[in-house]
């Protein structure tokens, strides 16, 4: 899977952080951020290194408090790293901050829209801060409002907007000056499914204009739908970085097959294992849960075993592993439990 793309366009095929030097639009080398508050020190970002390739949608995935937002704040020049170096485009963070601000667009986690202004005024005001030429600014603002499906709301105060509309406005606002890189910190947090879907569509549209997009999220579905590569962060550390497909392939358990039954037979599990096609099987109340590397291919053999024992099946489902499963595999914890809980896990921790 590892090869370079000459186009520089959406590069879903790039894996494991390797790419030709010129295509790496963000380079992060051993970046750490330590917050000191009185006698307590918190390491929010702990020796993180990775590259982002030009033109991709890159996902930073992890539970709340994993250090995603801190890393974004470092890259967007809001705070400087305690140690390590990071380059955004050709510019070094904490050294050429003003130049960096000129090539990035940022949509922070908490809204920074002025709710008293209209959507159009918000865009024009921001366009001036971003140095967009006055001559093209009105057209640009209207064009972006159209992208966000907000044309009919252009001259209404943002206060009257729904959460999804505000979010879409904020994302296009970050895109006013056609930045090379767009940072989206939890772009769909707190949105209903419809709005979330619309925001995703918009992110894809912006990416189609050759913008590199970095987004943080703790929604697996979002990362899976949008991102060409995903970095998992946990407790300030980068624990894995790959394409979604490769992440899932790295799980030893493979697909999960769930079969509903009415009554259990003692000989079933040994017989299933005897087929040699599956990795594990266990019975839970009225279900048998089987894991196998290639679920749909081994299913007929499994069904045959059930029939041999004359066990009627009430349901069958095959589920590919999700990124959630990947995270559980990597850390031993569920993604949404946050940090500090269940800290005994950690099987197969990757550097």
């Amino acid at each position: 899977m590892e090869h370079a793309t000459d186009s520089g366009g959406p590069a879903g095929s790039l894996a494991r952080g390797s790419a030709p030097e010129g295509d790496r639009i963000i380079r992060i080398q051993h970046v750490s951020k330590v917050f000191r508050e009185r006698k307590r020190t918190v390491t929010a970002v702990d020796d993180v290194s990775f590259d982002v390739v030009a033109g991709e949608i890159f996902g930073l995935l992890g539970p709340n408090g994993a250090g995603k937002s801190t890393l974004i704040r470092i890259l967007t020049t809001l705070i400087s790293p305690t140690s390590g170096t990071a380059f955004v485009g050709p510019y070094q963070v904490a050294r050429n901050d003003e130049e960096i601000r000129g090539i990035i667009g940022v949509c922070p986690q908490n809204s920074t829209l002025d709710v008293e202004l209209t959507a159009y005024d918000n865009l024009v005001f921001y366009g001036r801060l971003l140095g967009v030429e006055e001559r093209i600014l009105p057209d640009r603002a209207m064009q972006l409002l159209e992208t966000a499906d907000l044309t009919d709301r252009a001259h209404m105060p943002v206060r009257t907007f729904s959460g999804g509309m505000k979010r879409k406005l904020e994302i296009v606002r970050a895109f006013l000056h056609r930045p090379q890189i767009l940072f989206l910190d939890e772009p769909t947090i707190g949105l209903d499914p419809d709005s979330r879907w619309e925001v995703w569509l918009q992110i894809k549209r912006l990416n189609a204009e050759k913008t590199t997009i970095i987004l943080t999220t703790h929604y697996m579905e979002e990362a899976e739908k949008l991102c060409q590569r995903i970095a998992f962060m946990d407790r300030g550390r980068l624990i894995a970085l790959d394409t979604p497909e490769n992440h899932k392939r790295a799980i030893p358990a493979g697909d999960l097959i769930e079969i509903g039954i009415e009554k259990m037979h003692d000989g079933l599990i040994p017989a299933l294992m005897a087929t040699g096609l599956i990795k594990s099987a266990e019975a839970k109340e009225h279900r048998v849960i089987i894991s196998a590397l290639n679920g749909s291919r081994v299913l007929p053999a499994i069904i045959a075993v059930f029939e041999r024992f004359s066990m009627p099946m009430t349901s069958i489902s095959i589920r590919s592993p999700t990124l959630e499963d990947v995270f559980i595999h990597l850390t031993g914890r569920k993604l949404d439990t946050g940090i500090g809980e269940n800290s005994t896990g950690g099987r197969g921790q990757k550097p």
Partner: protein, 362 residues
Amino acid sequence: MIRGAVAIFTRDFKKFLSNPFVIVMTLFMPVMYLLIFGNAMGGAIVHIPVGVVQDEPYITETPLYTAAVAELKDFHQPDKPPTFDVTVYTSEEVAKQALSQGRISAAVIFPSDVAADTTVRVYEDSSDYMVPTLIEGGVTASVAASGFPNPVFFNRIYGTVDYIMFFGVGVIVMAIFMTTMMGGAFALIRDRELGIIEGYLVTPVKRSSIILGTIGSTTVRAFLAGTIIFIFDVLITGVVIRQPEDFLLVLLVIFIASIGVTSLVVALASRFSTQQEYASVVAFFNLILFMTSGAFYPILGMPSWLQWIALINPEAYTVHALRSIILRGQGLAIIAPDLIALGIFSTLAIILGIVTYRRTLE
């Protein structure tokens, strides 16, 4: 019903108790009102500077002069210091000049002979509240006590100044303060609470542009508010602007005061993270600065500790400068010390404002 009420009560009370700063300020404010408002208003006005001259042809001090000046120096309200600080001038010209420059509040010209048809002439600064009445009472009583028959003639050199004219000037200063304290700074804190300021920081806009824009917008607002109230003042209180230069001078004073107060407020607003804390501090500043500015009551009538505050109070200089121009028609020469004081204050405030605001942007 009771359960819900208790829940809300408990929540409100818990929040109130969790902010010691606001608790202290809520108790502190009434006490400060008592001390400042109570002392600043209605105190006995004493040590009014008065000049005395015996008119030409001067041969020797007349008994009228000697007796009346002695009475004037001794004149006081029960258990109070002397009402007048008497300075002897050698000629009417010099005394009148001192009066027009505001160094004395009245010039008392005694005639060179004692007779019922030669008058004691009193030229008095009528632009101050209460002071002309005290001078008139004091001089009349002193001449009467001297036992000589000369009548006293009073000349209010700025005409009759009503209290509304006197107070109207103070309201201009209040407009400046209100606009910045309430309007500008609250908006600034709210912008920060809402994260709007953080939004600025990821754009290529320079930090200095943010500071300039913030201070600039609030200054202009304060300036406009001050100017509008000034025009209002002219329309309803009956003060007369004598010449266009005076109008421009008023605008200059309003502008310098606006930029100084705005910068001070930006510095304060940068120090306080919540609107509540800021509001209690500002209420205190508003009280102490406005009360000691002389807008309500002559500074001469305040106890000395409040007079010291007035000495470093930029609003007091603003009020004095505006009164000099609007009520007394005095020019740049007279208000120059006020402008210098305001200039120093504004420069310090701008530096403080930039430094503190900048720190919140880093």
